[in-house]
Amino acid sequence: MDKLVNGFKPLLQPLLALIAGLAVGAIAIVIVGGSVTETYAEMWKGAFGNFYFVTNTLARATPIILIGLGVALAFRAGFFNMGSEGQMVLGALSAAVTAIYLPGPGWLKLIGAIMAGMLAGGIWSAFAGWLDARFRMNLLITTLLLNYIATYFAGYVVTYPLKDTTGSAAMAQTVMLDKAAWLPKLFQGYSLHAGFVLALLGTILLYLFMKHTVKGYEIRMLGGNPLFASYGGVQRGQLMFLSMFVSGGLAGLAGSVEVLGTQYRYLDGALTSPGYAWSGIMATLLAGSHPIGTAIAALLIAALQTGGMGMERNTEVPLEVSSIIQAVLILFVSAKLTYSFIKRKKAGAGNGPAV
C-alpha cells in the first residue's frame, strides 16, 4: 500500500495542475462563448484523433523533449538556463550550413550537421556559463539576452549572405538541403521523423547519467546544496561549464533535427514562432526537472498545442486557450501545493527549491 501511495505521489501534483489548467481553460472558453465539452473534444481530436494527428503531436514534441532535457540538466545543477531559444537557433543554422557545404556522401553530411548543431548550441550556452564563472554575470539574464542576439544574427545570415536566391519565393531561408542528408521519416507520408528516436534515446541516457554516474551525482548535489557540494570538493566552475555545454548542446540538437527532419532548410522564424524553446522550459518546470518526467510533460504540452490548433480549425475558440492552460499548469506546479509543501512549512524552510 505504501509503495502504491509513494508511486502516485509525484504524479499527484501534475494531475492536480492539469485539472486546474483545464478548469481555467474552460472559463476562457465560456468567456468567448464556446461550448466547453465540444471544444475539449475537438482539442483531444486535434492531438490524438487518428494516426496522422498522433504522429503530428509526436513530431512537435521532438524538439520540445530535447530542449526540455537540456534545461532539466541545467536546472538540476542549479543554473537557470533560459537561453534555449538562442542555442536552438544557432544549432539549427549551423546544422543547415554544414549539411549544405560539407562535401561527401549523405550520411556524412547528416552526422556532420548534427554534430555541428550540438557544438554550436553548446558553445553558445557555455559562453554564458563562462561569463558567469569568470565575471559573475547573472546567468539567467545573460542567457536571456543572448537569445535575442542569436536570433538576430541567424536572421541576418539567411537574409543576406546565405539567402536562397534560386527560387521565386522571397523568403529569408537557406537553399534546400541535399535529399541524401535528410533525416528519414519514421512512417511514409507522416511528419514524424527519426529525431523522435534521438529524443527518446536522449531521455534514457540523461536519466541514467543523472542517476548512476558520479558526475550526475555531483550535478544534483550542486543544485541541491551548493555549500555541501563545495565542501565535498565539487568544482563549481568546471561543472557549470560542463552542464551548460551539454544543456545547450541538447537545445542545438533540437534545432538540428527540426532542420534535417522537418524543414530541410533553415527558414528564419520557423523555430522561434512555434515557441519550442519556451515549451521545453515549461516541460522542465512541469516535471520538476526529472528527465523522464520532462519527456512526458513535453508530450503533454505538444498535445495541448496541436490540440489547440485542431480546436481553432473546428470551433470559434482561439488557439490561445491552450497557452493559458499551459501557463496555469506551470504556476500551479511551481506553487507545490501538495504534501511536500505542508511538510516544508512545518520544517520552517525558507524558499522552495528550484526543482
Binding site: 543572448l146 563549481r236 482561439p318 490561445e320 506551470i330 511551481s334 522552495g352
Partner: protein, 307 residues
Amino acid sequence: MDQLFDVSLFASALRMLTPILLAALGGAICARVGLFNVGLEGLMLIGAFSAIVGNYLTGSIALSLLFAIGCTLVFSMLFAYMSIQLQANVIVVGIALNFLALGLTTFSLRAIFDVKGAYYDKNMVGLPKLHIPIVEDIPWLGFVLSGHSVLVYASVLIVAALHYYLFRTVSGFRLLAAGENPTAARSLGIKVTRIQYGAVLLCGALCGLAGAQLSLGNVTMFTEGMTAGRGFIALVATMLGQSTPLGVAGASLLFGFMESLSIRLQGFALPTHFTMMVPYVVTILAMLFFKDKGYMQEARKSSGSSR
C-alpha cells in the same frame, strides 16, 4: 556623425527610457525586500494591454491608467501570494507569470478586439503631451526636455520620491531591513510579510505605468509581445543600479539611449538585424561592470537564490 547625434535622438531616448525606468524601479523595490522579480516583462505586457483596453472602454486617459494599474496589481498579487505565502521559487513563479501574461494578452486580443497580432486605432487618444512653459523656448534643451507624455515626467518624480522614501523615512528603512535580514527584522517586530506584499504591489503598479507608456505613449497600439525583452533589460538596470533609485535611473538612461540609437542607426544602411542587437549587446557589456553577489553568499542567504 552630426546626423546621428541630433536633437530628436536625445528626445526619443527620453521616451524609450521611461518604460524601462519604471519597470526597473519596480524591480529594485522587489530586490530590496529579497524577491528577485523575473516577472517584470509579463507585468509590463499586461499593463500595456490593459491600458489599451481601458482606453477603448472609457476613452479617458486617467481611467485607462488606473485600469492598467489595477490589472497589474491583480497579477502582482498572484506573484506575491505564490512566492511569499506558498514559498514557491520566485524565479519559477516569475517565468510562469511571463507565460501567463503572453497567453492572456494574446487571448484577450482575440476575445475583445477580434484581431490577431496587433490592435491599432487611429482615433484613440494617447497620453497627453506636456509642454513646459519656460523650458520649451530654450533652443536645444526645449526640444529634448519638453513635449513628452505625462509619464515621462512622472517617472522622474517617482525616482526622487522613491529615493527619499527608501533612504530618508522610517518606513523605508524598515523595508530595507526586511530585505537585508528578514529574521532580524522580525525580531524587532517589523511585519516582514506585509512589507514584502506592499513592495510587490508597488512594483506591479509601476510596471502597469511602464506598460501604459509603451502602448499609449508614442503610438496608441498594442502588438503581441510588444515588451520585447524590455522587462529583462529593466532587470539588468535594477542590478546595475544596485537597486538604488538614482542608480537605476542612470542605468535606464543608458539603455534608453541605446534603444533610440538602435532605431536611429537603421537609417544608416546597416542591416536592421545588427541595429536591433545593439541594446542587448550593450546590456551584456554593461553587466561586465557590475559584480553579482557571490553564489556562496546567496546560498547562505535564507531568502533563496537569485539564480
